[in-house]
């Protein structure tokens, strides 16, 4: 597979400010001038001029795509810019009599556009430099991944358990910082249990860990968690953020993705089975094109391609060609951001301004998706393709049904051969009716959103993204900056998706492994080694620990792209096991904890908040998998103009099994920063707003959890009240209360009981209500939703 060999950077940054007027010479344009140029001038040049006077073609030896070229002018030798009255450019666009009118063939610019150009020339024609060109392959993320040497460092208080610790410690040392002491066992098991399973540890699990004095006690916990089905539910949910997974289309016509759950379950199963990440990616991009040994594998691979079909689509777009291109754009952008950390979307309309991605790169890749069939019909309301994934039982049922229909048809035919007596006529009617009935009730077989091959085409470059202005056709291929020039052509009889899938997961691809290990790191530490997890381009953030990132990437690939191997490396490291203890010196030197001098204090995510509430109430239903939507059929409206969304969220199952309704996300999730699932979200925000506090104060979910907790505690007749407070704290926070906290809780129960005397006459009820009020406070507190 072609990967561009590392080249020395060829600096093609254009000199800034070669302007017509002597006075303005060599002065960089002011921000106002840049703004004016980018909003008023460059669009005009790109749309009307540079097709003939640009990089590819230079009519009259003239180019208008850089300051230098403009200054040089064209074959006539006349000054292009200079004094507005004499400027060749302005005379041409004004269609002055003595010059060739531009743009030609009567396509005159509007008065406003001409006025803008005149104003620009008058300013001295400031032309902001295009800083980056396609040769900028020296960007760190485009360089091949290396296996860096592991620094040799030791610290008696910070055992270097694996190279992660060595890389982190070396950076801390260099900054004069020391790592925090290890977290205590209670803190650690709470942290790792939330991280790996998204659930709080139970008091029993905590006790077992506390009692285990063996050196492998922590590793035992980690293995237990990684083997738990809850692991795949937790980490599958992370991937679903990247895959913008949703159970409805959202956008304009909010109809049900009735079979999307199959993809969700595929993701959960893949994480639980530790499916190698390279295989996981290939299945999602081209599972339908991969060989399969059996029907189960075949179905799994077909379901995986749902990844590319799950995006929001404007299903009532009246412009059908635009709809098709928008869908391709969404697929292309999602694939590139999710797997490569590259924002390709910009190149739909113009060469990427910041990354070395050209519009030609974009349309070369778009050709692959245009040659793929995602939609069965673009007619309003457009209809996405689904692949059949029938079970043997369904197949048998269908075969039986077809045999039944055939039998009646045969009978009917036989009846037609007989003389039409009234008995025969009646029998014919019966048979015909039976056939009609049967055909109406044909058994449904399972299907899954996904892809299949379409008509193979190469796409033209579409200027400004519009199909109404097609440019030259580009052959399907991968982006030059990564795959190099002279790539072998993609097959004429296939979309090229299979080749794309292989290229994405080629160990020589500099981005795929880096992007994934960084995602895993982000979900463990709250921040990636590269902060901009979905953008590894030139405007993305630089890695805080580039060598560590590369070491992890090589380790990942060398260990068969095993995600669980990555988890073990990370959570068993001393780095992960540090406490979150504050250190004012370190906080001053590195306030954002970029160098990892302590563990980050993190609020748990929306799903974890809900799951934790149900878990501590003892109400969590651990049933796995299955359909998400029960009240609407596949492709039916979740809600249309009515605004009446009948989706309910009263299930007690884990949050990832609740419907993800775009445009009207479950309000608890929306409140706590769960994404709307319209675009990829490798990184979730954590906001703190007053409407969240209202949820903690007043929502039925929190209130009922407090009631359930109180009921459970009071049902524990083996405990006294102090024992109940202890159980409450251990259940909610994974630790016993302090003496002060016990005293406060008991006093509060008494105080609330007294306050309720007038309104709740029955003492048992009053006592339960008082305990519920105390439980409510415990749940609403920071400690319940923050992991240290």
């Amino acid at each position: 597979m072609p990967f561009a060999a590392l080249r020395l950077p060829v600096l093609t940054a254009l000199a800034v400010g070669l302007f017509g007027r002597a006075t303005a010479a060599d002065k960089p344009p002011t921000p106002e001038q840049v703004r004016f140029f980018e909003s008023r001038v460059r669009p005009v040049l790109v749309e009307h001029c540079t097709k003939c006077h640009g990089e590819k073609t230079q009519r009259s030896e003239l180019r208008l795509d850089s300051a230098a070229a403009m200054k040089e002018g064209g074959a006539s030798g006349e000054p292009l810019l200079g004094e507005p009255a004499k400027s060749m450019l302005l005379r041409a666009v004004r269609h002055d009599a003595d010059v060739a009118p531009m743009p030609p063939k009567g396509k005159k610019l509007s008065d406003a556009q001409i006025a803008d150009l005149a104003q620009w020339v008058k300013m001295g024609a400031p032309y902001p430099a295009v800083v980056l060109k396609t040769h900028d392959r020296d960007h760190w993320a485009f360089r091949p991944v290396t296996r860096p040497a592991v620094p040799i460092v030791t610290d008696p208080a910070f055992p270097v358990r694996n190279p992660i610790d060595a890389f982190v410690l070396a950076k801390l040392r260099a900054a004069g910082l020391t790592p925090a002491a290890p977290a205590d066992k209670r803190t650690l098991i709470r942290r790792v249990t939330f991280d790996l399973t998204g659930l709080p540890p139970t008091p029993t699990e905590i006790d077992a860990f506390l009692r285990d004095d063996s050196p492998g006690a922590y590793a035992t916990v980690v293995e237990r968690l990684l083997a738990s089905p809850a692991y795949g539910e937790r980490w599958g949910r992370h991937w679903l953020d990247v895959a913008r997974y949703a159970d409805s289309n959202g956008l304009d016509e909010n109809i049900a993705h009735g079979n999307a759950w199959r993809y969700r379950d595929y993701v959960v199963q893949s994480f639980n089975a530790d499916v190698p990440y390279n295989q996981f990616v290939r299945e999602q991009v081209a599972g339908d094109l991969m060989p399969a040994a059996d029907a189960t594998t075949r179905h799994r691979q077909l379901i995986a391609t749902g990844f590319l079909s799950l995006g929001p689509k404007v299903l009532a777009e009246p412009d059908k060609r635009k709809m098709e291109l928008d869908i391709v754009d969404e697929q292309l952008d999602t694939t590139c951001r999710a797997i490569l950390g590259l924002t390709m979307g910009c190149a739909r309309c113009h060469d990427h301004k910041f990354d070395p991605i050209t519009a030609a790169d974009y349309y070369a890749l778009a050709g692959i998706f245009l040659s793929t069939k995602t939609m069965d019909s673009f007619k309003t309301i457009a209809s996405w393709h689904e692949n059949e994934v029938a079970t043997p039982a369904e197949l048998k049922c269908r075969a039986d049904h077809e045999a039944e229909v055939a039998r009646f048809k045969w009978q009917l035919m036989a009846l037609h051969w007989r003389k039409a007596t009234s008995a025969v006529k009646s029998a014919r009617r019966c048979a015909a009716e039976a056939i009609a009935q049967l055909e109406k009730n044909a058994p449904e077989v399972s299907s899954a959103m996904g892809l299949t091959e379409g008509k193979v085409v190469d796409s033209p470059i579409l200027r400004r993204g519009s199909y109404l202005s097609p440019g030259p056709v580009v052959a399907r291929r991968f982006p030059t900056v990564l795959a190099g020039e002279g790539q072998p052509p993609l097959p004429k009889d296939h979309s090229g998706r299979l080749q794309l899938a292989r290229w994405l997961t080629d160990p020589a691809n500099p981005l795929t492994a880096r992007v994934m290990v960084n995602r895993v790191w982000r979900w463990h530490f709250g921040r990636g080694i590269v902060g901009s997890v979905d953008n590894f381009g030139l405007l993305g953030e630089k890695p805080t620990h580039p060598e560590l990132l590369d070491w992890l990437a090589t380790e990942f690939v060398a260990n068969g792209w095993s995600v669980k191997h990555l988890h073990r490396l990370i959570v068993l490291s001393s780095t992960y096991r540090m406490s979150s203890a504050h250190d004012s010196k370190a906080a001053e030197a590195d306030p954002a904890n970029r160098l990892l001098w302590r563990a980050n204090v993190r609020r748990v995510e929306a799903e974890v908040i809900r799951d934790s509430l149900l878990a501590v109430a003892g109400e969590l239903d651990r049933t796995m998998g299955g359909p998400a939507l029960h009240h609407v059929k596949n492709r039916a409206f979740l809600f249309d103009h009515t605004s009446k969304d009948l989706t309910t969220y009263d299930s007690k199952r884990r949050s990832l099994y609740l419907p993800v309704v775009r445009n009207h996300l479950y309000d608890v999730f929306q409140l706590f920063d769960a994404p709307d699932a319209a675009v990829i979200h490798g990184d979730r925000a954590t906001t703190t707003v007053a409407t969240q506090a209202l949820f903690w104060m007043n929502s039925p979910l929190v209130m009922s959890t407090a009631d359930d907790l109180a009921e459970t505690l009071l049902g524990r007749t083996d405990l006294d009240d102090a024992g109940r407070v202890r159980t409450l704290y251990e259940t909610a926070y994974g630790r016993p209360p302090t003496a002060k906290e016990t005293a406060r809780a008991l006093a509060s129960v008494a105080e609330f009981e007294a306050a309720l005397a007038a309104t709740v006459p029955e003492s048992g009820k009053r006592r339960q209500r008082a305990w519920s009020l105390v439980c409510h406070v415990v749940l609403a507190a920071n400690e319940f939703v923050y992991v240290r």
Binding site: S643, T687, P700, A781
Partner: protein, 469 residues
């Protein structure tokens, strides 16, 4: 125990005395923590604002401009004939010949602005109104048009106009959200139409109900506790604050933990400020009548308009009121005569009531009122004789108050009202203009996300200076 909390509590207990005390409580609360972490802290605009707050009266669907504010005599003359010009390349549905308006127009006020008999009350306010007759968008479908109108984009998830205003200006009243949307429609983009996308979450609109909920039952989510009395809840919050402070002491200084402690106090204030703002029973009978609350036909939208005024005067930066029933209300592909009459009847008096009320309270001069739908309707007939299709190519919106020329008309559609023809105003231009009126430069109001500076107006937008007073 916690002197600073208790003293605030004493203050809050008096909040029933009214808004002034809440504002005072805000002042005190403001001292507790620096504003730098609060995305809604009041910010200085780019230049002196003409309007300090805005109210958007959104007509869900497409009010027919050629039947309301943009009369076309040629439709009368050429009724039943084919449209002589070139139709848009993409249309939502097929339409037939030209259709004259079933309603009569008259010129009103000093300005002589034409208004059809559909809006007799608004007609009396035309001298306060600045019409833009030449707005145009790009998308002829509800979903795309609604998203474009609210977020500037019909194919990406982008922050909504209200969220940009909240982000750019912050809020003066910390007991209420910066952006409230009353009875919004969940269809056609739903939450994205009041969402914050990549802007800080606090900038998103707080919905009061939705289009399927009668306005008198619409409430902010979780604003009330069904079982715990305010006294007990206050005691709970004290216990909570104590536990949180102990936790914070163990953890060390942490902005997000501190922020969460504050958020409970804020929520407690919102719990009393929101119902107070929503309590329209405090308005005089005369005011209620002005908004049409005494008539079941106008009571629904009248209540929305009155609520909008109350929220607005309490410092909510941007209030949207949506006129929609559980269908797309302004969408007369058929039954134009019957249903446009019904729709207009429901909003006409409340809108005029709001303008009159704002004016007499001296609020209109720095409050921007915006009226409009997703698009207009075609001059040609859809169906047999009584319907019009979506038309994003040219339609009317209007502004009032907040520094726009009163009694003014800007731009024009062509002779039949299909395309914007003179002084065209694209939706991006419209957004740029609204931001300008609020004191924000649309090219400077940016947010860096995924390595790029994003704007409400993408890479376009021209401020329509011609309509400034």
């Amino acid at each position: 125990m916690l002197p600073h909390l208790l003293s605030r509590r004493t203050l809050l207990q008096q909040s029933a005395l009214g808004f002034g005390f809440l504002a005072l409580a805000d002042l005190i609360a403001g001292e507790a923590h620096a504003a730098d972490t609060d995305p809604l802290a009041p910010k200085k605009p780019h230049f002196p604002p003409r309007a300090k707050r805005a109210i958007f009266l959104f007509m869900k669907g497409g009010p027919s401009h050629v039947d309301i504010f943009d009369p076309k005599p040629l439709l009368d003359r050429d009724h039943g004939k084919p449209y002589p010009g070139e139709r848009p390349r993409v249309t939502f549905a097929a339409t037939g010949t030209l259709l004259k308006s079933p309603w009569k127009f008259e010129r009103h006020g000093q300005s002589g602005s034409p208004v059809s008999e559909l809006f007799p009350h608004v007609a009396k306010c035309v001298d306060d109104i600045c019409f833009i007759h030449s707005l145009y968008g790009t998308n002829p479908a509800h979903g795309g048009a609604l998203l474009k109108l609210h977020t500037g984009s019909d194919n990406f998830v982008r922050p909504s106009l209200g969220a940009w205003l909240a982000y750019g200006l912050g809020t003066e009243n910390k007991s209420l959200p910066a952006f409230v949307t009353i009875c919004p429609t969940l269809a056609h983009g739903g939450v994205n139409n009041w969402g914050s996308a990549f802007l800080p979450a606090a900038c998103q609109g707080v919905p009061i109900g939705n289009a399927a909920v009668p306005v008198d039952q619409a409430k902010v989510r979780y604003i009330r506790n069904a079982t715990t009395t305010p006294d007990l809840q206050r005691r709970q919050l004290e216990l909570l604050a104590e536990a949180n402070r102990e936790h914070l002491a163990r953890t060390g200084p942490d902005k997000s933990l501190e922020g969460r402690i504050d958020s409970f106090e804020l929520a407690f204030r919102m719990q009393s400020a929101m119902p107070e703002a929503e309590d329209i029973s405090r308005e005089s009978a005369e005011t209620q009548k002005l908004y049409g609350l005494d008539d079941p036909k106008t009571a629904g939208f009248g209540r929305q308009c009155l609520l909008a005024r109350r929220l607005s005067e309490r410092g909510v930066r941007y209030v949207q009121a949506t006129h929609s029933d559980a269908a797309v209300q302004w969408d007369q592909h058929s039954n134009l005569k019957r249903d446009h009459e019904k729709n207009a009847r429901e909003v006409d008096k409340p809108i005029a009531g709001l303008l009159t009320d704002l004016k007499r309270r001296g609020l209109l001069k720095d409050t921007l009122v915006i009226w409009g739908g997703e698009f207009g309707r075609t001059p040609t007939v859809q169906g047999k004789a009584d319907g019009r299709d979506h038309n994003p190519e040219g339609f009317t919106v209007w502004l009032a108050g907040g520094g726009v020329k009163p009694g003014f008309r800007y731009g024009a559609t062509d002779d039949y009202g299909w395309f914007a023809a003179e002084d065209k105003v694209h939706l991006h231009d419209f957004h740029a203009t609204l931001l300008y009126l609020m004191g924000l430069d649309h090219e400077r109001l940016t947010y860096r996300y995924e390595g790029r500076d994003f704007r409400l107006t993408d890479v376009a937008g021209r401020v329509v200076n011609e309509i400034m007073a």
